[in-house]
């Protein structure tokens, strides 16, 4: 089957075109490096089947990161395919550098110019036929949102032809290096490697095995300051092309916006960032989120669930079936579903931040602060996504160019309290702290960050990240598209719900079975019989005595390993209650009960112990086996240690009342976080920058 590759700079709209043409659902966003791996789908164009491939964005044909290497490998290994160079019309000047590099290799290149309407608004008018003549390849305007996309794309593909190599290649005298290198590599890579040799990059040849004895000769092929000469030639060519095809230039050539003056201003940038985060947090977890949550709880548990139970009782259904539906379907799954609105709100805000282009600015603002911890500014995106779901956040780290920064980010994400833990916090903290529960939840989020920062500093001392990403490109600020927002949110919610109906439902059934059957598998009919769950949990429970947990709490924690949502549904099943009654049952003497001290210890343990199975499986793909198991043990040790410490301190201080106590907890965590940050700044004062600089010079 013939192949078509979508190639272009990052954020040019390749994935959006791919999705429109193939009906796929590849993640898109206003952010550089959203696509981290190739996506392939079949596509019927001009009555012929093609294999359409969406490649990660590149700036040139020399890879700088793992995802760029994927693109370069695909281009070089499939030189007989059609390459659609997707160009953002707003970014034409910089994009043509890649176009020229594709043309230099004599590939079948066509250019799809995207965002033409946007560029017209900025005052840039491009003469497409002049651009086509200057480049020597077919150029077509390809507005993503128009209905003619498929028709135009088909037209573009039908006109694809092998392009003539540009004349300036003669100035580089490539015959000699190409002839030499052609003996040791596939002929299709010879030209590419020849240009590399002229640039002076003899260590950077593609699939080329030069005998050791001849390697010293390679340097002789390099031009004097070859990279500069080659870059200058391409830049001059781009300037010539632009002179021919630009009818008018941008009124504001620096692409600045009024908002950027606030977002990037040295005085307003940080307060604006903090305000945005606070607003998001307040709306999601404050009055609005609570209101929606209660409404959903009423609908699912009281209205639907209650109605179903009444109906079953009227139909004289067996007691065990009524118990099963009440405790598993309504109690277990329904109580987690009631928190769906908060999860939707969190995903909505994260999507808005991503699609508006604010995240790239945020990455820049935090680059310096995060580099102290061996992280990259871009890590903030993955870490923020971690507040939504660790499983979805971990793959986003693939955009980090620095391997160690990536590993550190991946290991820190589980410490960011994911949305699945929120129902647990809300129910347990709500039971003990009433109005102060918001403060306790906020304190838990801060504690997760504090532990993550501390670990990052320790790791930075043991395994220093020697360099970080130094250049961040700010994507244009764009109004998020309503349809795209809905699409991405639905996708995330679908994942969230599908987990409830698969893993969560299965595990809730197991909990129910273990709780309602004895070890000899007899249905429990009186209180004297001991359930399977009780037997197992009682065996492990003594280990958790220093944290004040009973066997019920231990049992809930075990199922939390499968999915964090299960902690609450497990408690609901164990205590034999449904919906919002879970909170009340934690105080009034059921199987899972807490004192204020053990409640806080339980919350701390929930926050810090191992993430769910799906997140762990993602993690396993990225880190080595040794690091993986070490990490799980470390998380358990931290959770156990801090949980025991919390229990001890709260037990000693004594419980002084809901809201006041919540303030005390919140203030304590804030003080810990401030002290920690000050200490880190003090430690890094004279070391970090110089260390990184030394490494940079050594390279």
């Amino acid at each position: 089957m013939n192949k078509i590759f979508l190639v272009g700079l990052a954020n040019a709209g390749k994935s959006t075109i791919f999705n429109k043409l193939t009906g796929s659902d590849v993640h898109t966003g206003n952010w550089h490096g959203v696509t981290v791996n190739k996506a392939v789908a079949t596509c019927n164009i001009n009555n012929q089947k093609y294999l359409l491939t969406d490649l990660p964005g590149v700036y040139g044909l020399t890879p700088f990161s793992p995802e760029e290497a994927v693109t370069v490998r695909e281009i070089l290994n499939n030189q007989d395919s059609i390459f659609v160079n997707v160009i953002d019309a707003n970014n034409l000047e910089r994009s043509l550098n890649l176009t020229l590099q594709l043309i230099e290799l004599g590939l079948r290149v066509v250019v799809a110019l995207n965002f033409i309407e946007d560029s017209k608004k900025r005052g840039v008018e491009i003469n497409l036929s002049a651009l086509s003549n200057a480049l020597g390849v077919e150029v077509l305007g390809l507005e993503i949102n128009t209905k003619n996309l498929y028709k135009n794309f088909s037209k573009l593909i039908s006109r694809a032809k092998i392009c003539d190599k540009p004349n300036y290649l003669k100035d580089w005298n490539l015959e000699e290096p190409v002839q030499f290198v052609g003996k040791y590599c596939d002929t299709s890579f010879a030209l590419y490697n020849g240009i590399r040799l002229r640039e002076g990059a003899s260590d950077d040849l593609w699939n080329c095995e030069i005998p050791l004895s001849l390697q010293s000769k390679l340097k002789n092929f390099a031009l004097f300051d070859g990279l500069k000469i080659i870059t200058n030639t391409r830049t001059n060519e781009v300037n010539k092309i632009l002179n021919k095809c630009l009818k008018s230039k941008a009124k504001n050539p620096y692409g600045s916006s009024k908002f950027d003056k606030i977002f990037l201003n040295k005085i307003t940038a940080i307060p604006v960032f903090l305000s945005i985060m606070l607003v998001i947090f307040y709306i999601t977890f404050g009055f609005f989120g609570d209101f929606l949550s209660n409404l959903t709880n009423y609908f699912f548990v009281d209205f639907c669930g209650g109605g179903l139970i009444k109906l079953m009782e009227n139909l004289s259904a067996p007691i065990w079936l009524v118990g099963f539906v009440n405790q598993v379907l309504i109690g277990g799954v329904g109580s987690v579903l009631s928190f769906l609105p908060q999860v939707i709100l969190l995903f909505l805000f994260l999507e808005i931040l991503e699609q508006s282009g604010y995240l790239s600015r945020l990455a820049w603002l935090l680059e310096n602060s995060l580099s102290k911890f061996g992280l990259s500014g871009r890590s903030i995106f993955s870490l923020l996504m971690g507040f939504g779901c660790s499983t979805t956040a971990i793959p986003t780290t693939a955009t980090l160019q620095n391997g160690r920064a990536r590993t550190k980010t991946v290991l820190l994400i589980p410490f960011m309290s994911c949305s699945a833990k929120l129902p647990v916090y809300s129910a347990i903290a709500g039971a003990f702290f009433g109005a102060g529960s918001v403060l306790v939840i906020f304190a838990l989020y801060l504690l997760g960050i504090a532990v993550a920062l501390l670990l990052a500093v320790v790791w930075q001392k043991i395994y220093p990240t020697l360099s970080s990403e130094e250049i961040v490109e700010f994507t244009p600020l764009r109004m998020p598209k309503f349809r795209k927002l809905l699409q991405n949110i639905f996708k995330n919610i679908y994942q969230f719900l599908s987990r409830i109906w698969t893993v969560l439902l299965a595990c809730t059934i197991i909990i129910w079975l273990c709780n309602n059957f004895t070890i000899t598998f007899q249905f429990i009919t009186n209180e004297t019989q001991v359930s399977i769950l009780e037997t197992i949990s009682k065996l492990i429970a003594p280990i958790f005595a220093p944290l004040g947990f009973g066997w019920g709490a231990v049992c809930a924690l075990i199922f939390g390993l499968v999915a964090k949502e299960l902690i609450l549904s497990g408690i609901a099943v164990l205590n034999g209650v449904v919906g919002s009654a879970v909170a009340g049952s934690l105080i009034s003497g059921s199987i899972v009960t807490f004192t204020p001290a053990s409640c806080l210890a339980f919350l701390v343990f929930c926050l810090l112990y191992s993430p769910c199975v799906s997140a762990l499986s993602q993690l396993k793909h990225i880190v080595s086996k040794r690091v993986f198991w070490g990490y799980i043990f470390l998380q358990f040790a931290i959770a156990y240690g801090l949980g025991a410490l919390t229990y001890l301190i709260v037990d000693l201080v004594g419980y002084i009342g809901g809201l006041e106590f919540a303030w005390l907890i919140f203030a304590s965590v804030c003080v810990i976080l401030c002290l920690e940050y000050s200490l880190i700044c003090l430690l890094n004062k004279n070391t970090c920058a110089s260390c990184r600089r030394c490494d940079f010079q050594r390279k």
Partner: protein, 74 residues
């Protein structure tokens, strides 16, 4: 002069980049190629570096990279 020595609102022209080959190529590809005009766009906060408009794009450049980009005023 170095790019870090420029002031906000100033326009300068790139002369060269002092960096290892792979990084130098990357900086060139991102738009900081010789003879390109750069507009110093936003903050030059201590430790962070600067925000520069180059070839129609706005880029944030770390201080330790920016000090290796040599420019001349225009």
């Amino acid at each position: 002069m170095k790019l870090t020595e420029t002031k906000q609102g100033q326009k300068v022209k790139i002369v060269d980049v002092n960096a290892p080959l792979f990084l130098r190529r990357r900086i060139f590809e991102l738009g900081f190629s010789p003879s390109t005009v750069v507009f110093v766009y936003a903050m030059q906060r201590k430790g962070i570096g600067g925000v520069y408009a180059v070839r129609g794009a706005v880029l944030g450049v770390d201080k330790k990279i920016a000090k290796n980009i040599l420019v001349e005023p225009i």
